[in-house]
């Protein structure tokens, strides 16, 4: 574990400029931006501060025992149901997220697809979709472009501008990652079918950059922490700079229970438990919530008071609503020659020809296709799936089938849109509590029919591509009824209208002027399955605005 080596410590009774709840993709960036601009910052992170030496290739520990995540086995239950008529039951967490400094950026795959111009104005271009909360963003691509470029350069991305990509003000700082066999198979299949595959943009370094080494292609990114710091998590890019500023104190093992407000209704104090259960409260001039799309709405709902009976920042009633998962589908193929997709980063080629689907199809949707190891390069997962092509799942023939399943396989994966619905949401469970006695997160989620149609569309394209690629055995599925996601989106959406959104176009609460909310919850639409670059760009943009507001004495 890393020493937090705080160059500064603040007293809880001292009023700091900012308390930031969460140190992940958004919180890490805002902490760095505000502290290097000279403001006093306390970051509260419920997990530990890990570092490269803490990570290893341990599938059993990490994938099957949730080393990087917390769930009900560790005192953090979630409940789940499809509709509000059902009683929610405890199960494996539906909303899964890392608990550590850097949050999900530590164990993500690093696929960084910018949104395009259309994503921000899609509702008005296409028209509303009945029964959904599908609306335009309050900002445009041009508003966000400078901050996408900031992500490219401050976080560290590798890539090459693709033929369908929106305009960019700067090239990528690092050249694309070398293509893997799985990428070659996708690219060649795409060519046959008249599509374009191009280098996947990733938040993983192809070469040394900003004091960090290039990727050594060890093969386990997805779900694992990087053992050499080549993955551009906020843990290695932003947090060290925040701490080095001398203005930022990072407090780990701190679980926030509520945000208090003063007589004028402004946020003035963040209450939390230290690891041993000691309750503390940090006073601050302003509060930034970047706790993720599950924890942020829960915290707002938990912070109810006489003045804010429905929870903080919730005069719209939209806190917790519009939860979006992102759709997923997969076609798996076996090839004659070794693919070895278990080496290097998950995806090296993407197809973005289907970003927006033809309206004549009769449903809304879009996304991208990339190529990967079907089981994330994981050995146990591969072997558990032995038999997927119809063979036995144990015995001599099963054993025989395993080798090609691991070394000669690759998948074409569809990453797709989800529509925002009021009925898909995060609420407080009325009976189940976590280890702190807080109401558990209750997830109510059922895909819109268009989300399912989109997944199926992408599976069908992937199957065609797999055939064009020359696979000898092919199987596919789409993720209808998906039980979980790591993309926690939409639950405190941004918008211009305080009646239908939680934060304004600068991530400032409509209700409470010194409360800022920035993480996956801010997303108005779901992205094409790769939301993190947009969350990070929003964080850089929000930080700029927060600094301006502070300079003007508004904080």
């Amino acid at each position: 574990m890393a020493q937090d080596s705080a160059s500064v410590t603040y007293s809880t009774t001292e009023e700091v400029d900012f308390v930031i709840v969460g140190s992940g993709s958004a919180g890490g960036i805002i902490a760095k931006e505000l502290s290097t601009a000279g403001y006093s910052v306390v970051v509260l992170e419920q997990g530990p501060h890990l570092q490269a030496a803490d990570f290893k290739h341990d599938e059993w520990g990490i994938k099957y025992n949730f080393d990087l995540e917390w769930d009900w086995r560790k005192g953090h239950p979630q409940t789940r149901r499809k509709t509000e008529d059902e009683e929610a039951v405890i199960g494996d967490s539906s909303l899964r997220y890392a608990h550590n400094v850097g949050g999900g950026s530590v164990h993500f795959s690093g696929n960084f697809w910018r949104l395009r111009e259309i994503d921000f104005i899609e509702a008005s271009v296409r028209g509303p979709i009945a029964g959904t909360n599908f609306v335009d963003w309050p900002i445009t691509y041009n508003d966000l472009e400078p901050y996408y470029s900031k992500v490219d350069w401050e976080i560290g991305l590798s890539g090459l501008q693709g033929p369908w990509d929106p305009p960019r003000s700067r090239d990528y700082p690092c050249s694309p990652m070398p293509v893997k066999s799985s990428g070659v198979l996708l690219e060649r299949a795409a060519k046959k079918m008249g599509y374009t595959a191009y280098p996947a943009p990733v938040a993983i370094l192809s070469e040394p950059y900003d004091g960090r080494p290039g990727c050594i292609h060890c093969g386990l990114c997805n779900g694992y922490g990087c053992e050499v710091d080549a993955k551009s998590s906020t843990m290695v890019t932003m947090i060290p700079k925040a701490l080095a500023s001398g203005n930022c104190e990072l407090r780990t093992g701190c679980t926030v229970s509520r945000v208090n407000t003063d007589e004028s209704g402004r946020a003035n104090e963040v209450v939390y438990w230290e690891q041993d259960g000691t309750e503390q409260a940090q006073r601050a001039k302003a509060v930034v919530l970047s706790a993720n799309g599950a924890e942020t709405p829960r915290l707002l709902l938990l912070s109810e008071s006489d003045r804010y009976p429905d929870g903080l920042a919730n005069s719209s009633g939209m806190v917790g609503k519009n939860l979006m998962f992102n759709g997923y589908s997969q076609a798996i193929g076996i090839f004659e020659e070794p693919v070895h997709a278990y080496k290097s980063i998950p995806a090296t080629r993407v197809i973005h020809d289907f970003w927006t689907l033809d309206e004549d199809l009769g449903f809304y949707g879009g996304g991208g296709i990339d190529s990967r190891h079907p089981f994330g390069g994981n050995l146990i997962s591969t072997a558990l799936n032995g038999g997927i092509f119809g063979g036995p799942s144990w015995g001599a023939e099963y054993k025989q089938s395993l080798q090609h399943l691991f070394t000669h396989s690759c998948s074409f994966d569809g990453h797709t849109t989800s529509l925002p619905l009021s009925s898909n949401n995060v609420t407080l469970d009325p009976t189940v509590q976590d280890m702190w006695g807080r109401p558990a997160i209750r997830v109510t989620y059922q895909e819109h029919a268009d989300d399912i149609a989109t997944m199926k569309f992408f599976m069908d394209r992937s199957l065609e591509l797999m055939e064009a690629a020359g696979a000898t055995q092919i199987e596919g599925y789409y993720d209808e009824g998906a039980p979980w996601t790591q993309h926690l989106l939409g639950t405190c959406r941004m918008g211009n209208d305080p009646d239908t959104s939680v934060v304004d176009r600068y991530n400032r609460s409509h209700d409470i002027p010194n409360l800022f909310i920035c993480d996956g919850s801010s997303m108005v639409s779901s992205s094409r399955g790769q939301p993190t670059i947009t969350i990070m760009a929003l964080a850089f943009r929000a930080a700029d605005y927060i600094i301006q507001a502070a300079e003007q004495g508004e904080i």
């Binding site: 693919v339 080496k343 050995l379 072997a383 199957l463 599925y477």
Partner: protein, 193 residues
Amino acid sequence: MNQKRMSRRAFLNTGGDVAKGSCIILTIPMILTACDQANEARINSGAYNILSDEEVLEYSAIAARIIPSDESPGATEAGVSYFIDTVLGDNMEAQHQILREGLRNLQSEGLVQHNAAYFHLLSEEHQDQLLKEIESTEFFNTIRFLTVAGMFSLPEYGGNKDKVGFELLGFVDQHAWQPPFGFYDADYALKGE
């Protein structure tokens, strides 16, 4: 082209639901501690923490039918029983009890059908036939899950002795790679497209 489609997820690429049908994955109470030196010594000496001698013989026999030893090592050579011992020893008395009951049921079937009190004493043919009958039970799915996990997890957890599981899958346990990674990218580099 194979037109068969799965209408919903039948397999997943991460933990969790992939082991549905097993009582283990849904009940692991905490992070398993990687084996320490004492555990290593236990494995080297052949001692088990909580499995009885009978259980070791019986679970090993089942595991050996799930991943048999043929021209390459199977569950037996991987020492999967040590992995099972490690997992069940980690605060899993309830799950252990489910397995004990499942084993008793399997044994009584063997006695009725083949007049042998212990599964490991049956012929391979009879073993396979009995396992086929219980393929969809929680007991079998749990043993299958533990066998696979023990075969392919890090040797520190007790199984995958001498990394025979890695070898079986064709996984080369090397920490860093350089292109070419596989056949097709080598070919691509040669042809330029």
